[in-house]
């Protein structure tokens, strides 16, 4: 938690004020600025090109005389383009599907892994240390190995014998087994002062009550961080939705992007579609910038 605050009052780097008076270091500083500008260009040019291409006419894209920016762009043309892309790619329903999938994942991630973190950090029943160790070592294993058994499990779930194809349930369940988030929640709950919990215990509060009345209000930062990261991660998910969901009415953004590459639409519509696929994240990033960077920090300190 201490580290996050650091972020709002930045520390300087290795260069000191005394250094900056020397010509040599002024030149170095200029070179560092130059490095950053080149980096900005590499990051931004593709993004700008994506937006610009999205607004071009198909004739402007092909052919050797193509330009970086659209030649004849008017406001009404741009609005028309956005509207046709929106309708053609069915963006509205896709957004709704994606939000259902990602929102459900967020709930599963936060509730299941949050409770696990709480038990491992605070209640520590007999045998929970072994579970914690297990979680830690399982995290090191690659996930591609269980592709086939997972698929088989979702077509015929053991014990219950239900087919989970064409539902978002498998994706939500997978979100419930996020080992890294268990560790994140545990370390964050570890840092909550014991005396608060002790006094609640003396007052006779049950573990669940302590969880809802003390732990949750104090853990709003870590919960929002995990939620945002889970949401952002799931908005672009495409592999499992692609493999598991064949119902066209349930298609999500990631799958749409995957199919867009080979679709018959022209490049401008594809780039406009890509723009739609990052719009939710851009809005979230703009709203929660501090949380996201702070969250990276929690993970970074841990890592």
């Amino acid at each position: 938690m201490k580290k996050i605050r650091l972020f709002f009052t930045f520390d300087k780097g290795a260069l000191t004020d005394a250094d900056m008076k020397k010509g040599k270091y002024k030149l170095l500083y200029a070179l560092l600025i130059l490095y950053m500008l080149v980096y900005f260009a590499i990051v931004l040019i593709p993004v700008v090109w994506m937006v610009a291409t999205g607004f071009k006419e198909p004739a402007e894209i092909t052919g050797l005389n193509g330009t970086f920016f659209p030649k004849s762009l008017t406001f009404s043309k741009a609005a028309e383009k956005i509207k046709t892309t929106w309708n053609m790619l069915n963006i509205g329903p896709t957004y709704i599907n994606t939000f259902i999938m990602a929102g459900g994942s967020v709930i599963f991630t936060v509730v299941i892994n949050g409770l696990a973190g709480y038990v491992l950090s605070r209640l520590k029943p007999k045998g929970s240390r072994a579970y914690f160790k297990l979680v830690f070592y399982l995290m090191l294993l690659p996930t591609t190995i269980n592709m086939v058994p997972l698929y088989m499990m979702f077509t015929d779930f053991p014990i219950l014998h239900i087919n989970m194809m064409n539902s978002y349930l498998p994706i939500w369940l997978m979100a419930g087994a996020s080992l890294f988030d268990i560790l994140l929640f545990k370390t964050s709950f570890d840092s909550i002062s014991v005396s608060l919990i002790e006094s609640a215990k003396i007052d006779g509060a049950a573990p669940l009550k302590i969880f809802f009345k003390i732990i949750i209000p104090l853990s709003v930062p870590v919960i929002t961080t995990v939620a945002i990261f889970a949401f952002n991660g799931q908005v672009g998910a495409y592999f499992w939705p692609y493999v598991l969901i064949s119902d066209k009415n349930m298609e999500v953004l990631g799958v749409k992007m995957f199919k867009l590459k080979s679709g018959s639409t022209s490049i401008d519509y594809k780039m406009m579609g890509t723009l739609f696929s990052i719009l939710p994240q851009i809005i979230i990033f703009a709203l929660f910038q501090k949380r996201i960077i702070g969250g990276i920090n929690i993970g970074g300190v841990k890592g």
Binding site: G13, D19, Y29, T62, F108, A116, L123, P142, T144, V301
Partner: protein, 311 residues
């Protein structure tokens, strides 16, 4: 005597009551842990175990039929594309180390030194990190487009250079895919490193400065040792994730041209969901897992030796 016996009995009653309470409490705690145990069991433990188990079985579609011993492994290892794919996977790892390892670290150091527009800098550096990987792949697929409509060929055209086939150039397909993944991932890594750099005690730099260390010497003497653990961890994580690369080649090239960019992960996907031979996919996954385990063991041994030498 009587009093003592009575006390003992009392104590025993208290103890058992306490134990009962403890068990009750533990039971409640485990009940809260249960959803996580169920999810971890089904999603991770059960499926990974079955993956190993079923790799020794023949399969009819997605149903295991009979035990065939090492047959699946034989078939996978003698598949004509296996060796090529295995080498390709290492190419992915090597290129990603060459292109993607130091770039975010250096960027983080520069971010840490620059004192102007820090908030804006951070936001721009992180920008590609908020794009879903699938969108990054799509964007770069069209930037690499082989005719003049691709962005990179448009730039080449400005200099009068003929359009280049980029992803179709089998020698460098893997490098180009790695460049696109690095573009998408370096920003996030740089922000992580930046967080680590901010945690370094500035007095260390000042001490180095008093000893007369210049800018680069200060970083070699302070930053690198301070960040060594994080750097090693990120490198290991990056190698593991690139070793399993699947999404990007699947989307950008589908393994082409002529399997020049097929990775082990993609081959495994193809066995399972294109050729419907999931037993081969599982055998291949186990081979991949064993490779990683061997590497991990070597890594830990080397790490220990290095530590011993330093002692």
């Amino acid at each position: 005597m009587r009093i003592i016996v009575k006390n003992k009995q009392k104590n025993n009653i208290k103890k058992s009551a306490r134990r009962e309470l403890r068990i009750k409490k533990d039971f409640g705690a485990w009940a809260l842990l249960l959803p996580s145990v169920i999810a971890v069991y089904f999603i991770i433990i059960r499926s990974q175990t079955l993956s190993v188990f079923w790799s020794f079985f023949n399969m009819q579609g997605f149903t295991p039929t009979e035990f065939v011993g090492l047959d699946n492994y034989k078939r996978v290892l003698t598949d004509t594309v296996f060796l090529k794919t295995f080498i390709n996977t290492w190419k992915y790892v090597l290129w990603s180390i060459l292109v993607g390892l130091l770039l975010p670290f250096i960027t983080a150091i520069v971010m840490n030194e620059l004192l102007h527009f820090r908030r804006l800098t951070r936001a721009i550096v992180y920008l590609p990190g908020i794009m879903p990987a699938v969108s990054v792949s799509l964007l770069w697929y069209f930037m690499y487009y082989p005719d003049a409509s691709g962005m990179l060929n448009m730039f080449l055209n400005v200099f009068g250079i003929e359009p280049y086939a980029w992803l179709q150039d089998s020698k460098f397909t893997i490098l180009y895919i790695i460049i696109s993944t690095t573009w998408g991932g370096a920003g996030g890594a740089a922000i992580y490193y930046f967080a680590g750099l901010q945690g370094i005690n500035r007095e260390l730099y000042e001490a180095a400065m008093i000893d007369g260390a210049g800018f680069f010497r200060r970083h070699l003497a302070v930053t690198v040792p301070q960040m060594g653990g994080m750097l090693a961890l990120f490198t290991a994580r990056q190698c593991i994730s690139v070793f399993n690369i699947l999404d990007q080649p699947l989307q950008m090239t589908d393994g082409g041209p002529n399997n020049a960019s097929t990775s082990l992960g993609l081959l495994s996907y193809r066995y399972a969901f294109v050729n419907y031979r999931p037993q081969f996919a599982m055998a291949l996954s186990v081979i991949m897992l064993l490779t990683l385990v061997v590497l991990a063991v070597i890594y830990f041994k080397l790490d220990k030796k290095l530590e011993e030498n330093q002692m």
